[in-house]
């Protein structure tokens, strides 16, 4: 009989994951913060100048391989520049672009989502069509179109990343706002004659802040990937600026005889994006266990 009475599967989700909660956020957030801190502190570290060329030291393998040099832990590229130093300095720009691109998409996206979910009607219809249209434009193609017209620059890159990101926020926040606006506290505020902008910014925005935080985290990973793809294609940062994607483009040409030039920046991107995605998932289950998706 007991076998029949025992629940066959946990009612919702895995107890193990629910217990992870804040611990998981720390477990992924701390290494990520460490990587960010090391990149930020790169000028203070005893590293070779990332732009210093030395043809006599070109294409040195990583230190642990034969022919390696202890001064160049991860080897050097075709111009003799230190790969480790370039990864750390490149990380600064990569993170900067990721955060700027993310913010430039998150702020208008969230506001549009709030407004269209709250007012519904025409505003909502217009915003929703634009969201669909944005999703219909293949991102890299759109980026190519914009950058072909404007030329390569950091501001063009951030503009493109913002165009890429805003629709996601608008869509999700709109859906949250739609259900939020029917909640008693909002109805009460409206009955009390509180002006709509105040309801939106002072009362509804804090209620969707958790969702925005999760989206922001997940979006940073996507933005880093997008930036690296654009820089890889030669549409992103301009030399002598260094980003991980631009380093990969250099490494592609050396692939057959110097694998380390392409391997390490790619590993850096993958590690950071994986940590960001894990952090986003952990935050989602921590902030709202009910909304936890796989």
């Amino acid at each position: 009989m007991t076998a029949v009475l025992a629940p066959r599967r946990p009612a919702s989700g895995r107890p193990a994951t629910r217990a992870r909660g804040a611990g998981a956020v720390l477990a992924f957030g701390v290494p990520l913060a460490l990587i960010g801190a090391v990149c930020l502190a790169a000028p203070l570290l005893p590293l070779p100048d990332p732009a210093a060329q030395s043809l006599s030291a070109a294409l040195r393998p990583p230190a642990w391989l034969s022919g390696g040099d202890a001064a160049h832990l991860l080897g050097t590229d075709h111009l003799g520049r230190d790969v480790l130093a370039r990864i750390l300095y490149g990380g600064r720009l990569t993170f900067l672009i990721a955060v700027a691109g993310m913010l430039a998409g998150a702020v208008p996206g969230t506001l549009l989502g709030l407004v269209s979910g709250f007012y519904r009607g025409t505003v909502d219809a217009v915003v929703s069509r634009f969201v669909e249209a944005q999703l219909a434009l293949p991102f890299i193609l759109l980026a190519i179109a914009v950058i072909a017209g404007r030329g390569r620059s950091l501001s063009a890159l951030v503009l493109v990343l913002a165009l890429f990101g805003w629709a996601q926020y608008a869509r999700v926040i709109r859906a949250e706002t739609l259900s939020l606006r029917e909640r008693p506290f909002v109805l009460g505020l409206r009955c009390a004659g509180v002006p709509a902008p105040r309801i939106l910014l002072a009362h509804m925005l804090p209620n969707v802040a958790g969702t925005v935080l999760v989206l922001v985290t997940l979006q940073i990973g996507t933005v880093i990937l997008a930036e690296s793809a654009l820089s890889f294609l030669g549409l992103g940062v301009v030399s002598p600026q260094i980003s991980w994607g631009a380093m990969l483009a250099d490494g592609r040409d050396q692939l057959t005889h110097a694998w380390w030039v392409a391997a390490f920046p790619g590993l850096a991107i993958t590690t950071v994006v994986l940590l960001v995605n894990l952090l986003g998932d952990a935050m989602r289950s921590w902030l709202d266990p009910k909304k936890r998706r796989y």
Partner: protein
Amino acid sequence: MLRFLAGKVTRGVVTLLIAVSAAFFLARGTGDPVREMLGDLAGPEQVAQLSAQLGLDRPLPVQYAAFVGDLATGDLGTSIRYGTPNLDLILGWLPASLQLAAAAMVLAVLVGIPLGVWAALREGRFADRFASTVALTGQSIPLFWLGLMLILLFAVTLGWLPAGQSTGFSSLILPAVTLSTLPMAQIARLTRSSMSEVLGEAFLDATRARGVARWRVVLVHALRNAALPVITIIGLQTGTLLSGAITVEFVFAWPGLGTLATQAVQMRDFSLIQAIVIFGAVVFVLVNLIVDLLYGILDPRIRDGVA
């Protein structure tokens, strides 16, 4: 069904119009393509001449009207560098892209769906964690870097497979595997969550109680009900596939639309770039229209506007 169809088509056309207009204004309204094409050394006469030749000296609204008019008749303009109609160029380079995208999608479905089903059946156990790790890594890895590393391993070091160029079936393997990673990861994640939701439903217990075999319950009854969101993501993935294909085609020197696009960028062929962007948007909207219709066929509730 007809009303459902008409509604979807209208929405698709509106979406498309906004998308191409955005592409038009973003490219022309924010920068100076002629300056970009000629470089800083060009004199003012050269700029004026090329502007006139491309019709870029006219007021923006006039340009836009001409652009939409051409578009409505299926005219995507003429390539600046090749001198041939853009549409002909695109259609010439399209088959290789379609081949690659189709191979990648088949691979993504064949790996992603079983992985997701397996994970859902073993919720919380090793298989589940394994599948989730694979999926999350697949979503975090830059596709072009994965491509480079696969070339390094299978072409440079082991010499088993060709590193690129379209030369028969073996050259399709590496690019297709690379390109399938992202859709595979997303299909696996979605199948897993959708399946685990369906598996908890009572009608499956009822089916099982009627004596239907367990594999049949999972693969026929549960999977069919879990399929809807998965089909949506497959539709949405075509857009991503088109974007991802650009870097992957670049890495493998695959003679498809992505390579045509990167070449157009290098040659600053502004007209061709715009045509490819528009073509990409049309393909995406069409595929998603088909997905929406498929939805209506699979689930009558959506067609009749109940759900």
